[in-house]
Symmetry: C2
Subunit: 332 residues, 2 copies
């Protein structure tokens, strides 16, 4: 990549936006210049990139002049409003929200899984849901080996998946508890400190949340597996960073533990951490800040014929968001 790019980050002051800056820096992405955009509320803030200070500008329809590449991480509503404007100005858009993921003409990419789909893009590429991305890093290599039919699972999702206000909310509630006080919930409908909430994103008509259905919908699209079924319960837990998922996965072909271990040990972007006798298994604290996802607790599923039970953990701000977005940009 001799070429250098005029890059914009939309939602630069959010949890994912800040992470994007660090990932671009760390991976020596060929940034010619950088425009940091956010809501009027955050405009004027200063952020560091490669030792220089950049002022955050308010996002307007004129923000995209001269931009080659626009990373959107500002939610679905902002993406729906401003991504078409950015495209019209000639920028390639990589959007971290759910706004366009199910659109037939928008590729949904995990570079380790379906890099070839990026060729179909028309100026807009979607970044997958964080929990789905982390889980598929382990499920897809297993699918290639054994043919994935369906999964049952439950997630343990960190508050940083909601954003910086949720990180502050957990911190405030925990600090209050230590002082014997109480801090009312503002971001979540119930306290998140010392609690778990089976409620991530809004509820749909079938009783699943939108977050839960993303697993099946996005899994189908990314793996090119239209019959794939996934029944997930998504749960917010008092963890700052890194999501975990417990999965029972059913396959069309017989599975063996040895073959599954070999497949996972060789999978790109994934570390096999699976020595329970020595207390080695993935945990969110250990996975936080790491580019690779981690898989462990691998066992033949005792309630399925051709099944594996497993536990996957990954930093959802990295593989589930910023890292994956930059990897997509590198594919381009």
């Amino acid at each position: 990549m001799a070429q250098e790019y005029h890059v914009a980050i939309i939602g630069a002051t959010g949890a994912v936006g800040l992470e994007l800056l660090r990932v671009l820096e760390r991976r020596d992405f060929p940034v010619k210049d950088l425009r940091l955009l956010a809501s009027v509320r955050s405009a004027g803030k200063k952020l560091q990139f490669r030792g220089c200070q950049f002022a955050v500008e308010p996002l307007t329809e004129h923000s995209f002049a001269g931009i080659d590449l626009a990373f959107f991480s500002a939610g679905a509503q902002m993406a729906r409003e401003f991504a078409p404007i950015a495209r019209a100005r000639g920028a390639k858009v990589i959007d971290n929200s759910s706004a366009f993921r199910s659109d037939a003409d928008v590729p949904l990419i995990i570079p380790e899984i379906n890099p070839q789909d990026v060729r179909e893009h028309r100026g807009l590429i979607a970044n997958p849901n964080c929990t789905t991305a982390v889980a598929l890093m382990a499920l897809y290599p297993l699918h290639r080996a054994f043919g994935l039919r369906r999964v049952f699972g439950a997630s343990y999702q960190a508050v940083s998946g909601t954003g910086t206000r949720a990180i502050e909310e957990l911190r405030r509630q925990v600090t209050a508890a230590v002082k014997g006080e109480e801090a009312r919930p503002e971001v979540y409908p119930h306290p998140i400190a010392f609690n778990v909430l089976p409620h991530v994103d809004s509820f749909g008509e079938n009783g699943y949340t939108r977050e839960e259905m993303k697993f099946q919908n996005e899994g189908r699209k990314i793996m090119h597996l239209p019959e794939f079924r996934a029944s997930i319960t998504c749960v917010r837990v008092p963890v700052y960073r890194a999501h975990s998922v417990a999965l029972s996965a059913e396959f069309t072909h017989p599975v063996s533990l040895d073959a599954a271990r070999d497949v996972l040990a060789e999978a790109p972007g994934l570390d096999l951490v699976d020595d329970p006798a020595n207390n080695r298994y993935p945990t969110p604290l250990a996975a936080a800040g790491k580019d690779h996802c981690q898989v462990g607790r691998l066992r033949l599923d005792c309630a399925l014929e051709n099944g594996l039970s497993l536990w996957v953990t990954g930093d959802q701000l990295l593989k589930g968001a910023a890292l994956n977005a930059v990897q997509i940009a590198e594919l381009l």
Copy 2:
């Protein structure tokens, strides 16, 4: 119950032991007199019961003279050593540990499910695993209506399930974090504050933990359902009290949401808390301290033909331990 009983509590100073005292008091159990027993380390401590102070005595083989009813909540090893002695002295034993649960001649009882089994006892009755007990409160009524085949699930287990030292460990680690310090793990192999650990009880040869296999093994025995299969991942979370379980349950008969709701709304010991549009679903903070378990997030399972997905929460020190033990004693 005009008769009154000479009652002993073994492990009286533990998390379950303390709860047993409160449940006996609250349910006006006909206690004639009370003997509180524990390890030498805890002997001499004073505990309140019905306004009187009782000194904790060290547990010895002579502790059971004159005792009618002995509640054991001191772990499997102590139960194996002392329950036979208590029986030999004529006491009826209700044991909260896993020591005897799979013994053919020891009834394993949840009074709302299999009260009739108590008639088979030979002086010893086992109290089920806490996670299993909480989940079966919802699964068994559904089984009666639709015929349960298997479940896939993941748990969110509170630290009080490990005991008082684990409660202190979470508190210490959280307090340290608020001060910007670090508190090393002592009870768990990894930090539990702001983390989740897919590790409850020890690991078996098939890769499942003993806790995870209890769900299938105890479920079969309690529900008289020898073909029942359960694949569970048990996870410790930074919650003080009340366990939660996310479940996908498969049935032999077709299920409807309305019928399932009716069944659960009428089930004994269970509250249906299921109005997600208004953010009403069970959470451990809300279930803590309550006798009833709570079920919600009910939906037709999108990856099963005859399936339901649900979320069950219950105070594992109550229904999962002390309350269930006293209910068994009341059956006697």
